[in-house]
């Protein structure tokens, strides 16, 4: 077998090629992103420390506009993670890496039930739970509600080779949510993403969609620039990963899972918002 004959054999296989799928703009965008990520990672250690300090001070000062201000007690001792945390999120304690969506107020605050809600942005089963909050799960300052984002559905869907699939959609959505939390739009962004889940489960979200969700959540002006920079720099990917890793040691089987004062709510109640709201009230 000499070189010419091998060349001829190989030639026979590439004839009749289907039309190429190729997107130059997308390739250049990906290239720019890679370039930025490299530049960012060079500064990462310094930036992470600065961002953690900033996140903690914001948490204490409570400069948020829309979101419940985390109580001082929920901000633990200075953590030392190697990644940035969104405003109000802590790295230690029982609520490590969780996002507080509702705070208990008034004189019953100390005894208010703690509700943990485990979510994955790609799960259609979680959607009714998240979107029902306004109607039936509005705890009206009578419960401490923590959302715990995880990305395990990425492992399920990222084997998908279809052209409409977007890899790491859960992880990227969590990281983008972190940027929205900094913009004071934790609840609005959460609801917007769930309201716009793809028709086909597993298609996930493009980065463009994740930015559009921010605009739809009321993030505009300078804030949308900050949001986009935060997202493209992957500022909260570390947090998203760490938050997702909480799933396994927690013993939680999947999403949606709800715990009231540490006790797992049965599946039937979990997917029935009025019932769930009743269970939370009963715990008060």
């Amino acid at each position: 077998m000499n070189e010419t004959s091998v060349h001829e054999l190989l030639r026979s296989t590439v004839e009749g090629a289907p039309p190429a799928r190729f997107d130059l703009d997308a390739a250049m965008r990906a290239g720019r992103r890679r370039r930025r990520t490299r530049q960012t990672s060079a500064l990462l250690s310094t930036a992470a420390v600065v961002a953690v300090v900033a996140a903690l001070s914001w948490g204490h000062l409570g400069t948020g506009t829309n979101d419940p201000v985390p109580s001082a007690s929920s901000v633990g001792p200075a953590p030392s993670p190697a990644f940035a945390l969104p405003r109000g999120v802590v790295a230690t304690g029982p609520q490590a890496y969780a996002v507080q969506i509702a705070a208990a107020t008034g004189r019953d605050a100390a005894t208010a039930p703690v509700v943990d809600v485990w979510i994955d942005f790609q799960s259609p089963l979680v959607r009714p739970l998240v979107l029902a909050r306004g109607a039936d799960l509005d705890t009206a300052g009578s419960a401490q509600v923590f959302y715990r984002p995880v990305s395990f559905l990425d492992q399920t869907f990222d084997g998908d080779k279809s052209a409409t699939h977007n890899p790491e959609s859960s992880l990227r959505a969590i990281a983008a949510w972190g940027c929205a939390i900094d913009a004071g739009k934790a609840q609005a962004y959460l609801e917007t993403v769930f309201a716009h889940q793809p028709e086909r489960e597993g298609d996930g979200f493009t980065d463009v969609e994740l930015v559009r969700f921010a605009q739809q959540s009321g993030i505009g002006g300078d804030a949308i620039v900050t949001f986009t920079d935060c997202m493209t720099a992957g500022t909260y990917r570390g947090w998203a990963t760490a938050a997702s890793r909480q799933l396994e040691p927690s013993g939680i089987a999947g999403v949606p899972s709800v715990l009231i004062n540490g006790t797992l709510v049965d599946a039937e109640t979990t997917i029935d918002p009025p019932k769930l709201a009743q269970a939370i009230r009963a715990a008060q």
Partner: protein, 174 residues
């Protein structure tokens, strides 16, 4: 990156995208995956364009990305059947051509990924042993041994599937 760089990059893409795609296909046996690999490789070349845009280097870099994704990371290469259904209708596509292509594709699928990549780089892209070693990030000795083992495996696969007419042609030529 200035506009001139972008123009150079786009010109390179126009000239080199299709050859890169064909090589990727020969290495993985799947046009869909080949398109993905090219998309990824072109993006990565753009990320380092100012550094690699000296003559010849972008090709080498792009090939390395494709090979690394396929061989090192063991992407799911050759996991599909030979894509009969994807072929466009062509008046000149004689039945003999189709069966020849199928025979060769099946035989190539039996060659381990790294050896197959070496065969494609050396005999399809006509790279020298040294150039191939640079793309594969291995020694020239390794390229030589991978080449001879790859050829032996290809021959054995052709024989095993009864494509003796190809073996005969090859023997006459060599």
């Amino acid at each position: 990156m200035d506009r001139g760089d972008d123009e150079d990059f786009k010109a390179w893409v126009v000239a080199r995208r299709e050859p890169l795609r064909r090589s990727a296909y020969l290495m993985c046996g799947d046009w869909f995956l080949a398109d993905d690999l090219v998309q990824e490789a072109v993006g990565r070349v753009y990320a380092v364009w100012p550094r690699v845009s000296v003559r010849g280097a972008p090709d080498s870099y792009a090939r390395r990305v494709v090979v690394n994704l396929l061989v090192d990371h063991r992407r799911r290469a050759w996991r599909r059947e030979v894509p009969h259904d994807d072929l466009p209708d062509r008046a000149d596509a004689a039945a003999d051509d189709t069966s020849l292509r199928d025979d060769v594709l099946h035989a190539l699928a039996a060659v381990p990924a790294k050896q197959r990549a070496v065969l494609v780089l050396r005999f399809w892209e006509d790279l020298s042993v040294e150039e191939t070693a640079s793309v594969m990030s291995c020694s020239t000795g390794n390229v030589k041994s991978q080449t001879s083992r790859g050829l032996a495996n290809l021959r054995a696969a052709l024989a095993a599937q009864g494509s003796t007419h190809l073996l005969d042609t090859v023997k006459e030529l060599s």
